[in-house]
Each structure stands twice: as C-alpha cells, then as structure tokens.
C-alpha cells in the first residue's frame, strides 16, 4: 500500500479545490489556535506510526482515513477533560477547515490489529479511496430521491427533491452534525456501493464522511458546526436477527433488532495518551492501541530514559458505554433461551437507550481474541464479540409518540404476498380463516368470527383536529358463559397467535400490573416507568381471563383504555398519557357458577354496565344441549385424540398462514367506507333504533353504530379490500345482532333490549321496579301516621298484599327507590318516614 503521506498528497493534488485532509489543516496557518498549538508539539508525532509488518492492507487503509481525523481532537486546553464535545469554543468558525473532525470511536481505533479476517477478497482500494469514489458518494447524496418514502423522519421534506441534500440543509439549521443514511437507499442507487458499505464499513464510512463534509461546506460555506458531519448508515439488510450472526459477519455492517437489558455506566476511554518529559518538558502523544498504551521509554528530545510521565488531563478521552442487547422474544424459536450481544456505544450515542427499550441497531460486528494472561503466550481460543454501534433506532418509540407502523412491518416475500392475496381472493376466505382459528375448540362459529374480526381491527381514524381525538379502531369482545366451555382455551389461543398479545388473569392482576408503574432503579436512582399488560399489548390484544374476579379498582382503569385507548398516569411526579391501543378479549364466569338463563347478562356476571357497554360484542358460550350438536362434538373430540402427525402438521401451517395473513392485512389494508356502505350503516342503525321505539325503549346508541362501523371495516380487511362494501355491513350487522341476541335478550320478555347492557337493566325490569315501589308507597300510606315501621313486618305485609312474588331484593330495591325520593329512610331494621 502507498505510504500515508504520499497518499495524502496525491489526494490533495487530485482534489485541490477546497478539501484538505484534516492533517494538512493542522499545518495550515489559518487554522484556529487550538490546532496551531498542536503543530508546536511535534509534527512528526502526527504521522501515523509505522505499523507492524504483519498488518495487512485493510488495516493500513483504515489508518489512512481515520488517523487524519484523530489528531484533530483539541487538547490545547489544560482543563481538557472528558469528551472533546464538552469544550466550549470561543471563536466562531465555519467552513470545513474550521470545523474540527471528531474521532469516530465507533469505527474503531486506528491501529487496531486486523480483526479476525474473513475476507478472502482484498479490499478494492482503488475504488474505495480514490477521489472518484468520493465523487461517486457525493453523486448519491446529490441525486437520490425517494418519492415513495413513508418514513417519519422524512416528514416535511419534499420527496421529489434530492433527499439527502435537504437533510444537509436541515443539519445547517438544526446544527446537529449527524447524517443518517438509509442503506436501502444506497442499495437502490447502486448495489455495488451497498455491498462495499456492508463489507468494509470501516473504510467506506470515513470516505462517506469526507464526501458529505465536502459537499456540505461547498453548499453552505458559512455554517457553523460543532464538529464535522458524521455519517450514520442504518437499516443494513444484512442481518435482522441476532441468532443469524455468524463468523462471516465479523467486521461487517449489520443491523439487528433486540431489547436493551442492561446499560453500563459511562466509561471514559482514553484515545490518546499525553506524555511530558520530566526533564525537558518535551511533549508527546501516544495513541491507545487495543486498550494499551505504549509508554515511551526514552525522551526523544533529551534522550533521558524513563522520564516521560502521563499527564491525565491533557490526554484525550471519549465516552463509551456498554449495552447488553437481548433478542426480541418474537425472533426466538420455541424452547430456547434468548441470545444476548454486547454493544458498545460511543460519544453522543451514550445514554441514548434505556433498559427495556426495543431497538434496531446498526453497527460493526467485532471479534477480538482473549488473552489468558498478559505474561503467557497461551490464548484462550475464544473470541470476544461485540458490536460497535453506529446508529440506534428505537422501535417502540411510537408507543409514546405518533403512529408508525413502519418499524414493525414484517417483511414478506413476494411469493408469500402473492399466496396471501390468492387466499384473499377466495369467496369463502372469511369462513376459512375463522375455521382455522383454534381448531381444537368446537363450533362456536360466530364467536370465532367475532374474534377473527377483532384480530384484524377497524381502520384507525384521527379526529384530533376536530377535537374528538382518536376514534377507537380496536374491537373489544367479552365472552361469558358456563365454566368449562373452553373460554380460557380460546384466550390462550389468541394470546399465542398475536405477536403483541398479553395474557392476564383477573384474579392475579392488580391495576398496577395492568397499567404501568413507576419504579426507582436501584443503581441509577432514576425513576423508570414500567409498563403493564395493557400498555405492552399496544397494537395487540390483551386477553383477560376471569374478568369477573377482577377488583373494581382494577376494572376502573379499563374504562379509559377501552374507549379512549390511552392510559393516564400520575404517579411519583410522572404525569403522562400512554397509548394503549389494545383490543380487549375478556372472559367472565357467571356469579352463580352456572349461567342462569332466567337472568340478564348483567345479573349473571355482575359487571358494571358502564364497562359492558364498551364491549363491541358480548358472546355467551353455553352448552347448546341438542343431539346433533352432541354427536358432532363427540366426533370432534375423539378425532382430537388420534389425529395423525401429518394432519397436525397441516394445521400448524394454517396457523402460520393465519398469522401472516393478519399481519399483512393489519399493516397494508386500510379500508374506507364506500357511499353505499355508509347508507347501509345508517339504515341499519335506524332500524335498530326503530325496534325499540315501538315499545318505548331505546334499542341502540351511537356506540352501537361505531361498533358496526368497526366490524364492517374489519370484515373488509379480511377480504383485503380497500373499500367497505355492503357485504361487509351485512356481516357486521349479522354478527352484532347475533351477539346481542345472546347477551341482551331480556329473559322476562324474550326481546332484545340493548338497555340491559347500556344501563344495566331492561326496560321491563325498570318498569317492574317502579311498580313495586309504588305498591310499597301505597301500603305505607294506607298504614296512616306511623313514623316508624319494622322492616320485616313491612316486607311481610307487602308480600301478602301483592299477587306477584316479591323477593327480598325487589323489596330492598323498592325501599331504596323511595329513599331516593326522600320519602323514607332505612336505618338498620326500622323504616322511618320523613
């Protein structure tokens, strides 16, 4: 390889316009004082030290590019302490020469010996380092446009203009000298360039830096930046999964996703040691090589041996933090424990993430041999691996901020999508999917259909502008019925099916476990918000078993979640509103162990009607008790017991397809109401209102209309249709009616009465209550002027008088009603008139 200095000259002559390698800048008389003082020290020290002869070409290339920037670190101040960025620059500067480059610790130390060498193919230096390559990169920046961009970061940019040029403008305004470059953009621009970036990030990225800076200061010569712009590529498609990392990825640019499980404290890492001769005060600098400093034994100025002393506060340090990353639970095969990787964050990426964060990181995968003992030549034959992070991207950030489905969009192959679309085109896709849902649970077709629609969900609408806030798109379902009707099994199934599912039992969960709580981290004394099941299942389904066993306190938090889809927290000084756009699938048992068909739903499960009305569909799971059903059920169960392996295999395939189908529909299909469908919905609603109005009851509320819309949208999603059509409305109506028939039928009259669910009492029951109260009032009035009466006697009298059976409950209710009228009060066993 060419010697460093000759190369630098070559480059200078090649591109003499404005760009100066930063090393030459330090010799430039125009450079700021900080750099001039550097030049005093010793110019020879600035030369990269000759490396060991065994160094291969790749390593030398590195030194060519990172070393010119490294000496740029300002060390003039005697109080230099900590990171270069922490110092305050007095004089304003501009232009590339005036802006100090900042050491890129993420790209590794300059003189690191070659890492484990996996490349059989030598670095194509001619291409990688030539000015042509720089020009080529600049052309990418200048020309690349992405008209179809959906990324959040690009909001507000003109998509038809060159994307990265706009970003450069942004940098000059914002002053944050970091340019994030999407690797997939590079790939579409030039596949070969992309390959080089992935394979030789250590070489390409510094070149990229150069190209960007040159371009930036050409374009905006007057900008003032803290340091030179650093390029941070992200979304390298090389690796998505931690499990797939293998020795071939070493020293390559990779992107993996995972969850942060631990972060270390900030570690100041010495980049460059500063030595001063005790005899002649001659200064010298030594770069840190693989964590070790080669202390100069002889002063080169006065030739005194062992006179050099380390001056700590003039040495250069950079920030470093260790982060432990664990595989995301979704990526893991069943029955294995998650893998972890060590990640090092440098400089301003330190403290960017917290334990618990889900992140995508892009970085360079490293492996270094472990020495057993510095004194021994024996080496443990194992490498230590870590990732030097270049770019973080939080994937769960959107949970706190706006909508962004992009982060978790599953990547489907073209064939898969074609297969799913083919399935969607089938006329009976709805039935097919619903029968693929929990096949081990027999029948309950409508319930499965309801759950299927819940899995798809409605279309998200935003009415924040008009002040209504978000319009709930999630469908909530309540299953109630006899114990032992496989409700729990259905819940378990759904929980296993959806990626963001949570399963809790009403018995075991507290309000805290459901919502979120504030915890003090014992190490950092920092307050951390720990999220509970509801927040965790944002964009998913929260399955709550034994809903009826939940304490009232716990249930009350569901009110907000189930309608507003948010969760407000005011605890320990943290006041915030978290998104909890979760669908709730709950199961409740009747209070008296067996469902009492003579009672209404509310009476059977004893849940507040305010909560019940928030469920779109309430199903009863009862034993149908008819012969044909029994026969089919028996057949189904017996076949469960001896089904062959292949059949089971097939079914599992179905579950995978179902999963993908749902994931695809949720992210790619956003149906809107068609004119015709709107009409149908209006009619349906009016019809529902009419049913009740004949008997002086209200049989539908706006909430029911919203439910219908959601169901219709979900059904359209099942069909992969971008429009809600009348068949969707038909099915929504049918399902809604079916559910109502089961849950809102007044057992006394046999009519469907929505007020059972909305007010907790059927209209007839309310009428009856009033009648009893009136009868009681009459009875009391007939007794004349008795200020106080015995409770029991009054009850007996009333029972004797009335021809219908009066229960104690009814009597109590009547008393309460009269008390409300301020007619009487009940104290203990006596009833007093007022």
């Amino acid at each position: 390889a060419a010697s460093p200095s000759s190369f630098a000259q070559k480059r200078l002559s090649g591109k003499s316009r404005a760009f100066h390698a930063s090393r030459s800048a330090s010799e430039d008389p125009l450079s700021p004082p900080s750099q001039r003082s550097r030049a005093h020290d010793t110019s020879t020290e600035l030369q990269p030290m000759p490396t060991s002869p065994a160094m291969d070409t790749a390593a030398q290339d590195v030194s060519l590019f990172s070393s010119p920037m490294a000496p740029e670190v300002d060390v003039s101040s005697p109080l230099m302490y900590g990171t270069p960025s922490s110092r305050v620059e007095g004089t304003p500067r501009s232009g590339i020469r005036g802006t100090p480059a900042r050491q890129r610790a993420d790209l590794g130390s300059v003189r690191k010996a070659p890492q484990v060498d996996m490349h059989s193919e030598p670095v194509s230096e001619s291409c990688c380092h030539s000015p042509i390559f720089v020009l080529f990169l600049q052309r990418f920046l200048q020309q690349f446009t992405d008209p179809n961009s959906r990324e959040e970061e690009n909001a507000g940019l003109d998509l038809n203009e060159p994307l990265y040029m706009q970003k450069l403008d942004e940098i000059s305004v914002v002053g944050e000298p970091v340019l994030n470059v999407n690797c997939s953009h590079i790939q579409t621009f030039d596949a070969d360039l992309y390959r080089q970036l992935i394979c030789y990030p250590q070489e390409v990225i510094p070149t990229f830096d150069m190209a960007v800076n040159e371009l930036f200061f050409d374009r905006l010569p007057d900008s003032v930046l803290e340091h030179q712009i650093q390029v941070r590529p992200y979304s390298a498609l090389k690796t998505r999964n931690m499990r797939a990392l293998n020795p071939e990825d070493i020293d390559q640019l990779i992107t993996i996703s995972g969850m942060v499980i631990r972060t270390s404290q900030l570690i100041p890492e010495m980049q460059e040691a500063f030595f001063r001769c005790q005899v002649c005060a001659f200064n010298t600098r030594v770069e840190v090589d693989r964590g070790r400093i080669a202390e100069p034994a002889v002063c080169r100025n006065c030739n005194t041996t062992h006179s050099m002393a380390l001056v700590h506060n003039r040495s250069a340090f950079s920030d470093k933090q260790m982060i432990k990353l664990q595989e995301s639970p979704e990526d893991m095969p069943a029955g294995q424990t998650p893998h972890t990787t060590v990640v090092y964050a440098h400089n301003d990426l330190v403290d960017k993430v917290q334990p618990g964060d889900r992140i995508n990181i892009t970085g360079i995968y490293r492996a270094a041999p472990m020495r057993l003992n510095p004194r021994q030549s024996q080496v443990k034959s194992v490498y230590k691996t870590h990732i030097d992070v270049i770019h973080f991207r939080k994937t769960d950030e959107k949970r706190l901020h706006g909508l962004d489905e992009d982060g978790e969009q599953k990547l489907f192959t073209k064939e898969r999508v074609a297969m799913l679309k083919e399935l969607a085109a089938k006329p009976d896709v709805y039935e097919r999917l619903s029968s693929a849902l929990a096949p081990s649970i027999y029948e309950h077709e409508d319930i499965k259909k309801g759950i299927l629609l819940q899995l798809f969900g409605g279309t998200r609408k935003d009415f924040t502008q008009t002040g209504r806030g978000n319009f709930r798109a999630e469908i909530n379902i309540l299953l109630c019925g006899d114990p032992g009707t496989s409700k729990s099994q259905l819940l378990q199934y759904v929980y296993n099916l959806v990626p963001r599912g949570q399963y809790t039992s009403g018995k075991g969960s507290s309000a805290v476990g459901l919502t979120a709580y504030v915890m003090k981290d014992p190490e950092t004394r920092q307050l951390v918000l720990q999220t509970g099941a509801l927040v965790l299942s944002d964009n998913g389904i929260c399955c709550i078993d034994e809903f009826d066993k939940m304490s009232d306190n716990t249930r009350s938090v569901l009110h907000e979640v189930m309608e507003q889809q948010t969760l407000s927290i005011a605890k320990a000084g943290i006041i915030c509103q978290l998104n909890a756009r979760t669908s709730v699938l709950a199961a409740a048992n009747p209070v008296e162990s067996q469902w009492n068909p003579k009672k209404t739903t509310i009476e059977n499960i004893q849940l507040p009607h305010t909560l019940l009305s928030r469920f779109d569909l309430i199903f009863l799971m009862l034993d149908p008790q008819d012969e044909a059903y029994d026969r089919r059920l028996a057949h189904h169960l017996v076949s469960l017991y001896y089904q062959s392996e292949e059949q089971i295999e097939e079914e599992y395939l179905d579950m995978a397809v179902l999963k993908d189908y749902i994931a695809f529909a949720r992210t790619s299909v956003h149906p809107r109401l068609s004119e015709e469908a709107s009409q149908a919905l209006i009619e349906a609603y009016v019809d529902m209102r009419k049913i009740g109005s004949g008997r002086g009851m209200v049989s539908a509320y706006p909430r029911q209309l919203e439910s219908l819309i959601r169901l219709a949208e979900a059904h359209a999603k099942v069909r992969f249709s971008s429009k809600v059509e009348s068949i969707d409305v038909e099915e929504a109506k049918r399902l809604h009616r079916e559910a109502l028939k089961q849950s809102a039928t007044d057992p006394r009259t046999g009519f469907v009465d929505i007020s059972i669910l909305t007010t907790g009492m059927s209209a007839t029951a309310r009428k009856r209550k009033e009648e009893v109260a009136q009868a009681l009032k009459k009875l009391i009035q007939s007794k004349g002027k008795t200020p106080a009466m015995k409770y029991q006697q009054l009850f007996d009298d009333l029972r004797g008088q009335s021809e219908a059976a009066i229960t104690k409950d009814m009597f109590d209710e009547a008393l309460r009603a009269l008390a409300d009228e301020d007619y009487l009060t009940v104290t203990g066993k006596t009833v007093r008139l007022l």
């Binding site: 070659p114 020795p247 570690i267 639970p329 893991m332 424990t337 075991g508 169960l637 089904q643 089971i648």
Partner: protein
C-alpha cells in the same frame, strides 16, 4: 491404528491426527464426528466410556472421552473460536497450523492472529446439570454399567492422595502423549494445580457441604441436588437442542486449570481495566467458573434421551420391536402385581391404585394449538393430614419412576420457594426454579402440608405457575421484561385432604379399606417386601406403557359418539364436553396400561365403569366458586 484406549483416553490425539491427515480438505470436521460415532456404535462401546455422573471428577483423566447424562439448564450465547490457527515458534520461527476444535486453549508457540490460515468457527455453550430429581435406583443402575470402565486413572477408595502420587499419575499419561504427539500442555501446570483440585473435591461424592460449593451456586433446579454441572460446548446443530432436553453427551473433558486462572485474574484486574472485562464479576463467575468445579465438555456426539430409565435401551422404542414384544408378553402379569402392590400402599383402595397407574403412564403425546393432550393430573384427595402416609406414598413413587420431586406445599414454601426460573441479567444466566424439570418427571404436590394463612405475592405467583403447569403443561419463565413460555411434560400428582385448590384432570377420593394400627410400620413393611428384581419389572413396565402408540378406529369412534349422545339425552348435566375429554383420556391410558395400542369396545366400557365408580365417590361439588380449571 489407534486402539480402544486411545480413543477414550486420548481423543484429542485422534482429532489432531484426522485434522493433519485431511490437510486442506474441508470435511475433516465431519470425519471426526463420524469416527467417534462409529466407535461408539461398536458392541456396547459406549458403556466403556466413564460417566461424569458416577465417577468423581478428580478420578477422570483430563482430555479423555467421558459421557454425561444431563439436562440443559441454560443456554449461553454462541461464541466464536479459532477453529484453525497458526502458531509461530519464537525460537525457530517455524509455523504450524493447528486445530482449535474441542479445545479451550491454544497450545504451543505464539498464535499468529494475522495468519491467512485462521478459520473462525462458532460454537454454542450449554450449561448442563444432572437430570433433576433422578431417583437413587436410577443412578445406581447407571453406575453398575459404568463399573466396567477400563480407566487407567480411575483408582477407587483413595480419597487422600499425596502430591507425588498425583504428579506421577498425571504425568504418566502425559509423557505418553508427549512422546506420541509432541505438543501438549506442560506437565508443570498440572502439578501446580493438583492440590487445588483435591481441595475442591467433586461435590457429588462429598456429602458435607464444602466451602467451594457454597460459594459457587451450581444452579440446580431442586434444592439439595448434587452432582457435577458442566459447560457443554456444542459444535453442530445446536439449534436442534431445547432447554430442559435430556441428553447423553459424549465429549472430551477439559479441566485445564488455566481456565480458572483467567477467572481469578480477571476479578482482580477488572477494576483496573474496565474496558477489557465488561462482564460483571457475577457474570464471570457464572460463565467461566473454575474448571475443577464445572468442567468443560466438548461434545463429540449427543444422544437425546426420550426417557432416563437405565433399564431400557436408550434408543427410541419403536426401533426395538423384539424388546418391546418380550416386555409385552409379561405385561399383564406385571400390571396385576403392580396393582396389588399399589393397592396395599393405598391402604387397600384398588380404584385409587388403578388411577395411580394411569397417572404414572400418562404423557403429553401431542399438542393441539394450546391444548396439551395426554396429560393426566391426578388429585388424590382424602389423604390424612399430618401423617406419614404421603411421605411413604412418595417413596413408593420414587422407587418406580426415574425422576421425581416432592414439593411440600407448605405456606412457607409457597411464599419463599422460587418455582419459576428467572433470568438474572447481572449474571446473565437463567436462575433455575423448582419447576424447571425434564420431561416425564413426576411432580408430587403435597397439599396436606398446607395450612391456613396468608399467601404473599410470591405465593400467588407460585400458585398461578402451578395452575398453568397443570392446565397447559407450560411454565412461563420470567425474563424480567417479558415472559417466555416453555412447554413441559410433567406428571403432577396432588395429595390433599379435600379437593385440591389447584386444578386437576381427575380427582379420586381415597377410601381405605385397611386400617392398620401402626400406619408407619405397615407402609414400610409393604415396601420392604418388594424385591429389586420385581421393582425393576415395574419400572420397565411403566416406561414402556408410557411410550406406546395409540389409535382409535372409526368403528369405535362411532360407538363413542353414540354413547355420548345417549348419555347426554338422559341427563345433559352429567356429561359435559369436559367429561368426555376425561373419559377419552382414561380410556386411552387404560388401554395402554394393558399394552393395547387401540381402543376396544371393552376398554371403553371399562373406562366408563371406572369413571362411574370414581364419580360416585366424590361428592357433587363441581365448580365450588366458579373456578375453572
């Protein structure tokens, strides 16, 4: 050609030899594995290999081939190592290409990191512990097989050895090797470390808790477990292994003292050099424990164990048609004897004994979406409170099954025991819990030990975990930020006074017909009568019956359907879908217990009778408070 002793005593020599032979050929790795597989296949060769389960660690020769019957307790992160590396002799400047596979440490000369010949490979580390709850008889049976081990360095009955002897013993084979191979680690280092090893004593042999074991938690699932834990390095197909799998690992034992040295040094130096050792001290301790306590085992070959009954051939039962038919011939008589025995144990209650047999041969044979099929959790109610009965019952079961554990459900235990395994992120390991058990372990829940009182948060969590285990045959491991579901296959037997507070598939109320004046004496007497050969028959019977296949013909399906409809017609309340589930389970297990592969009409009727008898005993109190199983 290498002799038998060579491939057991010096497998690395063979590895190196094969590596040298196929110089540049890339399939040398395969050849090595094939070689050892072939060797092990030869007439019972695998019984010659000394077992880490039975032979104390300090009697085993370093770098020899050993076997280890174990359960995967934790999986560490994969590590990259030098598969092939080049060394440079500083004096002669000669270079040599070496194989780093199956070794922890490079040997000879300076390693040239920049060599073009270096090949980086990947391997996975599993933390393995002996199968939790293995019964005494199980390890005895295993040991009797390993006694034939022709191990040169295996000198029993010699606990205290002098330094000279040690040196002699270790250097002898070492010199042998040096003569044939040349490059081997120096004998000096062995001599130096020997006293240390003697101090630490293999925990399996030493009954008194030594100071070393107390300082290092070997992370066994069950309290009071003993035995060696091992770091197994896996070179192939590690994705095919799952947590809690039972394995018989054949591998090269590595106890190089240098491995422990790093741990010591690191601890001291970690303060000085934070960038070097990013691992916490705890993590260090867990991931590189002293090799004398937790040896490394470089896996050459692993046999997944379907069962851990040493009386049975370890390979899959279907392949052993002859064996199976020989057992099946005797089956009826063994079953009758076992039934009589259990009836005696259960104080003359033959129905309970019948159900106990069904329970003991139950096995989750398949899962339909979330529903595990084949589990048969038995709740034996009516057990007297605070009497030696449950203890003796457990002893009997322990005598019959390969692995078991008795969980005292006392309030203290429920509130304090860690049942669900939890990930410790500081030490980066999975901290085991009582419920981390291998497949087909018998879990004996003793609810008679439970008193009235307050369950705290841990207690509630434990009860929930037990409930999940019984209903879904899964345990949700706690990973702090999320939970992860691990399916399991554990036979749960609950003894209680009344109906158990935990769900169960089947409740049998004990109805003793005998009333011996001294329960304790009676129960011990019943057990003493059983001779070991008889017990062995029972053990084989239970393991075979559990592994049988089962089908239902169409004809019987029809009959069952008819029957169900008929029963529902009379009284729909008496027969729910759940009852049918149970009835089918009972019918299946009953057929299997008689060695029948398919359900017969007769078997169905018997199952119905059995169920009718059982239900007639239990007072109708289904769903006390709307609790669903």
């Amino acid at each position: 050609m290498p002799s038998v002793h060579d491939w057991i005593n010096n497998p690395l020599g063979i590895v190196d030899g094969l590596f040298a032979q196929s110089n540049s050929c890339p399939d040398w790795e395969k050849k090595i594995v094939e070689y050892f597989k072939e060797k092990l296949k030869l007439n019972d060769a695998h019984t010659w290999v000394p077992s880490l389960n039975d032979v104390p660690l300090h009697y085993l020769k370093p770098n020899s081939l050993v076997k280890f019957r174990c359960m995967i307790q934790d999986m560490f992160d994969p590590e990259f190592f030098m598969g092939v590396y080049e060394t440079k002799d500083p004096t002669s400047n000669s270079k040599q290409v070496k194989c780093g596979k199956y070794k922890d440490i490079t040997e000879g000369g300076q390693v040239d990191f920049n060599s073009r010949n270096t090949v980086t490979s990947e391997r996975q580390t599993f933390y393995c512990v002996p199968i939790p709850g293995e019964s005494q008889w199980n390890s005895f049976a295993g040991a009797s097989q390993a006694r034939v081990v022709p191990s040169t360095s295996y000198v029993p009955n010699r606990h205290k050895r002098s330094y000279e002897e040690d040196d002699e013993m270790d250097t002898q084979p070492q010199q042998m090797k040096d003569g044939s191979q040349g490059a081997q680690s120096s004998t000096e280092s062995h001599g130096n470390i020997e006293p240390k090893r003697q101090e630490t004593e293999a925990p399996s042999h030493d009954s008194s808790p030594s100071h070393c074991t107390s300082s290092l938690d070997l992370n066994f699932s069950l309290p009071g477990e003993k035995g060696p834990a091992c770091l197994v390095k896996v070179y192939e197909d590690w994705d095919s292994f799952k947590l809690n799998d039972m394995l018989e690992v054949f591998g090269i034992l590595s106890v190089d003292p240098a491995l422990s040295v790093i741990a010591d040094e690191r601890e001291a130096s970690s303060l000085l050099d934070p960038t070097e050792g990013m691992e916490t001290v705890e993590e260090q301790r867990v991931h590189s424990p002293p090799a004398s306590l937790v040896p490394r085992l470089h896996m050459l070959y692993a046999q997944p164990l379907v069962h851990n009954n040493p009386l049975l051939p370890s390979s899959v039962l279907e392949n052993n048609g002859d064996y199976l038919s020989s057992v099946l011939g005797e089956l009826a008589s063994i079953r009758a004897e076992l039934l009589t025995y259990l009836t005696h144990v259960l104080l003359g209650d033959s129905l309970a004994a019948e159900y106990l047999i069904l329970h003991l041969i139950s096995n989750v044979y398949s899962r339909r979406d979330v529903l595990p099929l084949g589990k048969f959790t038995l709740n034996l109610s009516g057990c007297p409170h605070s009497s030696p009965f449950t203890e003796h019952l457990y002893k009997v079961i322990q005598q019959l099954v390969p692995s078991s554990y008795r969980l005292y459900m006392s309030l203290y235990n429920m509130n304090n025991q860690r049942m669900v395994p939890r990930k410790d992120y500081t030490a980066n390991r999975l901290v085991s819990g009582t419920l981390q058990l291998a497949n087909n372990t018998s879990l004996f829940l003793d609810e008679t030990q439970l008193e009235q009182g307050q369950l705290d948060a841990t207690g509630v969590r434990n009860i929930t975990a037990l409930g999940n285990l019984i209903s879904w045959q899964k345990v949700d491991y706690d990973f702090n930020y999320h939970q992860m579901e691990f399916s399991c296959n554990i036979n749960v037997l609950i003894t209680s006074e009344g109906r158990s507070l935990l769900p169960s598939d089947c409740q049998v109320h004990l109805r003793p017909t005998l009333n011996p004046p001294n329960l304790e004496e009676y129960l011990s007497a019943v057990q003493v009568v059983q001779v070991p050969s008889q017990l062995n028959k029972y053990r084989i019977y239970l393991s075979v019956a559990r592994a049988l296949n089962y089908t239902i013909s169409d004809e019987i399906t029809k009959a069952v359907e008819e029957d169900f409809v008929e029963m529902r017609k009379d009284d729909p309340q008496s027969m729910s879908a759940e009852d049918l589930h149970r009835l089918l389970d009972v019918a299946r297990l009953l057929s299997l217990s008689h060695g029948q592969n398919t359900l017969s009409r007769d078997g169905w009727m018997k199952a119905k009778q059995l169920e009718a008898l059982r239900i007639s005993r239990t007072p109708q109190q289904k769903c006390v408070n709307g609790n669903e199983p």
